[in-house]
């Protein structure tokens, strides 16, 4: 009858469905992961899975300890974060507070361009070109090491860190800067004492998102980290990460091995969820002080 009311109803419900689809997607993913991975834990206890030092999924009897993979992911991601965070923080501050006019625009689009490089291209370059240099510089037997992968991952996480952080810094109200400057603060004192504290939660979130990006990245580490499931002694050893394990082994994995990969997926899911929830918390945290 009432055309407007019907239209209103239809639009409202259509939007509701669209919103629900993505949530349902997440729930389904979670359900299947738990079902497949869960049956794995009936065969191998969780503690043995998490702390086992050997990942020999195809030997007899097979051993499913993901400690080397966890450490691999940790060392590669950790190295990437150590490199990317200082660079990202400084880069974001420079772009947001110091650079002016065309230099600023040039840097911003340059950073975005990094994001446009397909990760397989970066991984390929990293394995073939950067790997050779790393082997040379440090006198190693192989250039495919945790360090190589860290360098590449840092490079990949930079655009995320810089662009989110730059937004956070730019969003600091101009009047804070004015009031500090009017009290005689130098540009650096203004940035350090006023702008950065005001932007702190957004900056922390940017770092967390960068970390999330680095943990989840697969192609680059699969190509450049050497894929050796051993517990690394240093950052210059080849490692295998959680993500790369799933990607490289899923083709031939059957039976328990396939289920073990699902279990790895659960672990990854849990880690990235934790990182994202932390980032979310940092973004929405009410500034107390």
């Amino acid at each position: 009858m009432d055309y407007k009311a019907v239209k209103e109803f239809v639009v409202e419900k259509a939007i509701l469905v669209c919103g629900l689809v993505s949530i349902i997607g997440v729930i389904l993913i979670f359900f299947f992961l738990l079902r497949e991975g869960g049956s794995f834990f009936l065969k191998v206890p969780l503690s043995e899975f998490l702390t086992g030092k050997n990942w020999y999924p195809t030997s007899t009897p097979p051993q499913f300890g993901i400690l080397p993979l966890l450490l691999g992911s940790l060392i590669v991601t950790g190295g990437a974060v150590l490199l990317a965070v200082p660079l990202g923080v400084c880069g974001a501050i420079f772009i947001a507070e110091v650079a002016k006019g065309s230099l600023k625009e040039f840097l911003k689009s340059g950073v975005e361009l990094i994001q446009a490089i397909p990760s397989v291209v970066l991984g390929f370059l990293g394995a073939k070109v950067l790997g050779a240099y790393v082997m040379d510089w440090f006198g190693l037997d192989t250039g495919l090491t945790a360090f190589t992968a860290s360098l590449l991952l840092a490079f990949m996480a930079l655009p995320t860190i810089i662009s989110v952080m730059e937004d956070a810094v730019t969003a600091v109200p101009h009047r804070y800067r004015e009031s500090a400057i009017a009290m005689g603060a130098t540009r650096w004192q203004t940035i350090y004492r006023v702008v950065l504290p005001a932007a702190a939660s957004g900056m922390a979130a940017a770092i967390m998102l960068g970390i999330g990006r680095a943990i989840g990245e697969t192609m680059v580490v699969a190509m450049a980290s050497g894929n050796a499931a051993i517990i690394p002694k240093s950052i210059f050893d080849p490692v295998k990460t959680l993500t790369a394990t799933i990607a490289t082994e899923m083709g031939e994995a059957t039976g328990t091995h396939a289920l073990a990969l699902f279990a790895i997926a659960i672990v990854l899911f849990a880690i990235t969820l934790l990182v994202n929830v932390t980032a979310d918390f940092l973004i929405h945290r009410k500034r107390v002080k």
Binding site: R175, S179, A182, M183
Partner: protein, 252 residues
């Protein structure tokens, strides 16, 4: 003996080619006076004020000619600009406390100047709050966020913060524009007291406020200084027809 604190000579300011914000302004600001600056929107009042502490430098297109002398030294080449801004404090139209505690807001300037001793900082904070007529209202919650204060309290906090840097001159850019009459009265009371020690320049859109608190008042129109005289004279027997029209509300 009346001393001159700031001398402005042939000041012309522009932000775009062929268009002026201020045109050939000449005036002197006397020590321990409150100089009022009135005029309609767009007459260059705020630009004038921000020229005195070099805050216009933040705009890349800012261009100026002429001279501004503080204590006989050129503000644009004789003074270090950070030192200048410590000497010439500013209170903005919108209260703009920093997102930190009340105490830290006031201690910010002194800390920047290198004062670290807690006792000295405590003294400065208390003294500044007293002078800004705010101490009694906030003495029990100095560690609370400044942004939780009311607008009027925030503005007095901004005055206290400016005082803590121990300036000679304080610029007020429509400090009461967002405040209720009672808060306004408190700020005016503070200003009347402050002029004993400081030199104040007050830009205001409220002509009555200028009449209440200023010793001398300048009327700006379209970037030009039309008239400057004792406040009583300006408001009773202005020499220029345009001044009279403005203060009687016939245009503006």
């Amino acid at each position: 003996m009346v001393e001159t604190r700031i001398v402005i000579k042939n000041l012309t300011v522009s932000f775009e080619e062929d268009s002026y914000c201020l045109k050939d302004v000449n005036l002197s600001i006397l020590t321990n006076e409150i100089l009022g600056i009135i005029g309609p929107a767009g007459s260059g009042k705020t630009t004038f004020l921000r020229t005195l502490n070099r805050l216009n430098d933040l705009y890349p297109d800012f261009k100026m000619e002429g001279q501004v002398l503080l204590d006989g030294k050129d503000v644009y080449c004789g003074w270090n600009k950070n030192k200048l801004r410590k000497n010439v404090g500013m209170v903005f139209a919108m209260p703009n406390p920093l997102p930190m505690s009340i105490y830290d807001n006031i201690a910010y300037g002194p800390r920047m100047a290198g004062i670290k001793k807690r006792k000295k900082l405590d003294e400065l904070v208390e003294e500044s709050l007293h002078s800004a007529y705010l101490f009694d209202e906030v003495k029990d919650r100095l560690d609370k966020p400044a942004l939780k204060l009311s607008g009027g309290q925030q503005q007095r906090l901004c005055i206290a913060r400016t005082l803590a840097v121990e300036p000679e001159v304080i610029l007020f850019d429509e400090p009461c524009s967002g405040l209720d009459p009672i808060s306004t009265a408190k700020i005016e009371e503070a200003m009347a007291k402050l002029k004993e020690e400081y030199t104040l320049v007050l830009v205001t859109n409220n002509t009555k406020q200028a009449a209440r608190v200023c010793d001398r008042t300048a009327f700006f129109l379209m970037g030009e200084l039309v008239e400057l005289d004792d406040t009583d004279t300006i408001f009773t027997v202005p020499k220029d027809k345009r001044t009279e029209d403005y203060i009687t509300g016939r245009f503006g």
